[in-house]
């Protein structure tokens, strides 16, 4: 039976940094678990590239100024949490 080498197939043996990324994301998610629902939604939507206007539509009954304050506080909280863990 003819064999094909891994090099010939050009199969990547491993993806560098994948495990490190996975651990880091896990730490971030464990931080986010301690946040309230609104803060989690704000951060997830910011990460996904949504605008503040779109986030305001989702997080109803909130002014733009208040939303920005909440978002900034959530970002500070997340940065501090990750800073402690990593």
């Amino acid at each position: 039976m003819p064999l094909v080498s891994i090099e010939a197939n050009n199969i990547p043996v491993r993806s560098e940094g994948f495990q490190e990324d996975a651990v880091a994301y896990q730490e971030m998610l464990s931080c986010l678990e301690s946040f309230d629902e609104t803060d989690r939604t704000i951060l997830a939507m910011l990460g996904a590239g949504h605008s503040y206007t779109e986030i305001q539509e989702v997080v109803s009954d909130i002014s733009m100024a208040n939303l920005r304050v909440k978002a900034n506080r959530a970002r500070i909280q997340l940065a501090n949490c990750i800073g402690r863990k990593l």
Binding site: A24, M28, L29, L46, H50, R75, I76, G83
Partner: protein, 220 residues
Amino acid sequence: MNEETQIQIIELMDDGATLESSPELKGLVEASEEATKFYESLLVSESMLEGFFGGEKAKELDQKIDAFIDQQLEKPSNVSSITFKPFIGFAVAASLAVIAFTFVNSPAEILEPVAPVQIAYEEPAPVVVEEIIEEPEPMFVAGSDMETLWSTASQIANELGVDRYQVMYALYEANKDFFVNNNINAPRADRNYFVDLAIIESVDPIFASREVKNHIFCSC
């Protein structure tokens, strides 16, 4: 370091400032070891948020799944099957109308002998008309017409007088295949979204709100 300084750093970063380009940011960050550590943590957390919820890897994966769905799992649109209903109804109604007009316009000498038959022809007509009237009009929203899914859901909610989360929940539940990788944050523009009024009317607003927020958070 107080919160005011932290917010100043964030706002400068949002404006595109870097340590190289902004002396103000550099001054704030290098003012203390605590500020430097916060700045570094912030860079990491922002990068991780983007990487996890909307980074290049996530987009690349979405595109691959999108292509895979197009190639392998292309389903016939719900629109085409449902839009036959009006045509069938119209065809039935038109056939009965032709029969009725033919009968009404017939000469009197023909009408008189077949008078009992006239009753037999007239009976089914109202039944068919009732069926056409009772047929609920399916409601669709074209993805290409939507600015954002949320603004569309808000508009529909206002028109129906319901909570926007009820509409958003119904849009997602009835059209999961139209979201890339079932990700509520990635609705496809090339699909027609079915607005399931039954779901909207039956789902509890609090439940819908919780579910939609969970979907947004987990991108699923």
